[in-house]
């Protein structure tokens, strides 16, 4: 557990970066610090591992005042992930990951073997082990950064905007995998971001900070969305709070309807005959949805087969474990009004329409 007791940071020129912050980051949970530029979120994070030293108050790590611990010793027990990964360019990926264990005295061979496992754990293929950071993309480097921070199995992890420097698609993957990992590991994590959506998605607790380094509100994401403490927090959390809240709640059991489908390899005639309202859902050999086929579009020119070019792929696809928002969006974006839902392997599970989803939303009983 990490406790801030009236922790402050004032610079020699008088700037107050953090102003008497009182905050508890519970053990085994993700606490997100979020706020606009100048709110002291990064400063607060860096005070935990003494990259910046507090000028007032104190910070306790598992009830021990960190001001009394030698900084380098302190940091060796804390995982640290930063925005641009900061991988050592002159070392291979495997040696990057094994950095802290080797520094702590573990044998190289063992450390490298452990690092190999971690590599897979963060979702990277073994072939990356002997490459160098310059050969990896931003997203891949960030995964390595996380692996490196995990290598010595520290109970605490500090993460400073770790996913901000990658593109949105990669960012979402990294967030999902990070949640999965935390589900397995259960570390005490303090996470800084400027993105409120990320904060709400990842945090077990979210601390919203004001410019000038003061705490505005500390609450669970649901609480933050439904009961912002003042206008600043309400505005920071943003509009569409009600709608966005839907994005963070999993529906659970979905009342799926069956739907006729054809394989992509079928002939156009087969497809046309199976169609109900002039539309037929096309799957591939693994039963993954490829798109809706409009019968009016006809077969591929000069052949009997389905023309893949004409398939409507615009609709989003929801998981059976998806959120209300994802399921609603699948229904709204489908050309037939029937949202496509897939199972955990990506195979087609059934459809659901918008009316059904809205009923589900209303019946869950959360007011906006």
């Amino acid at each position: 557990m990490i406790r801030f007791e009236a922790a402050s940071k004032t610079y020699p020129d008088g700037t107050i970066a953090v102003d008497a912050l009182d905050l508890v980051a519970p053990s085994g949970q993700i606490t997100v610090l979020v706020g606009p530029s100048g709110c002291g979120k990064t400063t607060s994070l860096r005070m935990i591992n003494r990259m910046i030293d507090a000028t007032g108050g104190r910070i306790l790590l598992d009830d021990q005042d960190i001001g009394k611990v030698e900084p380098a010793e302190l940091r060796r027990g804390i995982g640290y992930v930063i925005q641009h990964a900061g991988l050592f360019p002159h070392r291979t990926i495997i040696d990057n990951i094994a950095s802290v264990p080797i520094m702590l005295g573990r044998k190289k061979k063992q450390a490298r073997a452990d690092a190999m496992e971690l590599l897979e754990r963060v979702g990277l293929d073994q072939k990356f082990a002997h490459r160098y950071p310059v050969q990896l993309s931003g997203g891949q480097q960030q995964r390595v950064g996380v692996a490196r921070a995990l290598a010595a199995d520290p109970p605490v992890m500090l993460m400073d905007e770790p996913f901000s420097a990658v593109d949105p698609v990669v960012r979402e993957q990294l967030q999902d995998e990070f949640l999965r990992l935390q589900g397995e590991l259960g570390k005490t994590i303090v996470f800084v971001t400027h993105d409120i959506d990320e904060a709400i998605k990842l945090g077990d607790q979210v601390a919203v900070l004001r410019v000038g380094g003061r705490l505005a509100q500390m609450a669970t994401p649901a609480e933050l969305l439904s009961n912002p403490i003042d206008d600043f927090v309400a505005n920071f959390v943003g509009r569409d709070r009600g709608y966005r809240a839907l994005g963070f709640e999993v529906v659970g059991a979905l009342p799926l309807e069956p739907e006729p489908t054809v394989a992509l390899s079928s002939s156009f005639d087969q497809a046309a005959r199976a169609a109900q309202d002039g539309w037929i859902l096309v799957l591939d050999d693994a039963r993954r949805p490829q798109g809706w086929l409009a019968v009016d579009d006809g077969p591929a020119p000069g052949s009997e087969a389905i023309n893949p070019v004409t398939l409507r792929r615009g609709g989003t696809v929801a998981d059976v474990d998806g959120t209300y928002r994802a399921v609603l969006d699948a229904a709204l974006s489908s050309p037939t009004g029937r949202g496509v839902v897939v199972d955990r392997d990506g195979a087609f599970a059934g459809t659901i329409n918008a009316t059904q989803v809205v009923e589900l939303i209303e019946s869950r009983g959360v007011a906006s």
Binding site: R76, Y80, H90, R91, S99, Q173, G346
Partner: protein, 262 residues
């Protein structure tokens, strides 16, 4: 005096260089081999001393960000008039040494060469450490590395390209300028240039110049080899096959996008 067109002169220079008698020592003349070794000796001593001073100093200044004025000050040394300083120092130092020894002349020569070699080594070493990605040093400190560890395990390997390039630059400077040793009675390849000029023996003079150039090129190639061997591939970007070259942001993005669209 040999009068000939450019072609004839090249031929004469070539003859002078390939005459085995010129490579051996006689009572009157010191051969190419001895002068070459002497030249190498002067250069190595100067580079060794300059490195011993400038490398640690550059690392310290780069790592602590203190004393950067020293780098600027050292750069002013590049404007030294080498021969003038050599003469001045020789007049001060040589009279203190008696007997059959060169040391009274070697010391002033080495002082001048060291002063010339320090600026490129110092400023490149400092720049090397200074331009290490701050995220890398931040990560290094954040994981619990202490100051000295950060310097030797992270900053130094990352600055090797610049440091070695500074060494190469200094080596070229020193080899070229070590010819001034001929102004005081020392050997070295400058002897052929200086004596050749005085005796109007142009093949000797040009031959000496060719030897200095050849030595400089060889030294540079050796250092380039050293660079190849010591700099991590992660920094030089030198990879075995094209497929290993740095990936763009697209590669590795998992195919969730394709599934959604389909």
């Amino acid at each position: 005096m040999a009068k000939g067109g450019g072609g004839a002169m090249i031929g004469q220079v070539f003859s002078w260089l390939t005459d085995p008698a010129h490579w051996r020592d006689t009572a009157l003349d010191t051969g190419i081999t001895t002068q070459l070794l002497a030249h190498v000796r002067f250069s190595l001593i100067a580079l060794g001393i300059a490195s011993a001073i400038a490398l640690p100093l550059g690392l310290f200044i780069g790592h602590t960000r203190r004393g950067t004025f020293l780098v600027a000050g050292a750069n002013a040394l590049r404007a030294l008039p080498s021969v003038g300083l050599l003469v001045l120092l020789t007049v001060m130092i040589a009279p203190h040494f008696h007997g059959r020894t060169d040391i009274g002349y070697v010391i002033p020569t080495e002082i001048v060469l060291v002063l010339l070699a320090i600026p490129p080594i110092l400023s490149n070493t400092y720049a090397g450490v200074d331009t290490v990605d701050p995220a890398v040093t931040d990560a290094a400190r954040g994981m619990g590395m202490r100051g000295r560890q950060v310097l030797f395990d992270v900053e130094l390997p990352c600055s090797l390209p610049l440091i070695l390039s500074g060494l190469r630059s200094a080596t070229l400077q020193v080899i070229a300028t070590a010819t001034i040793a001929s102004f005081v009675p020392l050997g070295g390849l400058g002897r052929f240039i200086y004596d050749g000029l005085q005796q109007q023996d142009y093949p000797q003079m040009i031959g000496g110049g060719v030897l200095v150039a050849a030595l400089a090129v060889t030294a540079d190639l050796l250092l380039a080899l050293l660079q190849r061997v010591t700099v991590s591939r992660g920094i030089s970007g030198r990879f075995a096959t094209k497929g290993d070259a740095p990936a763009g942001p697209i590669e590795g993005a998992i195919t969730r996008v394709e599934v959604e669209a389909g």
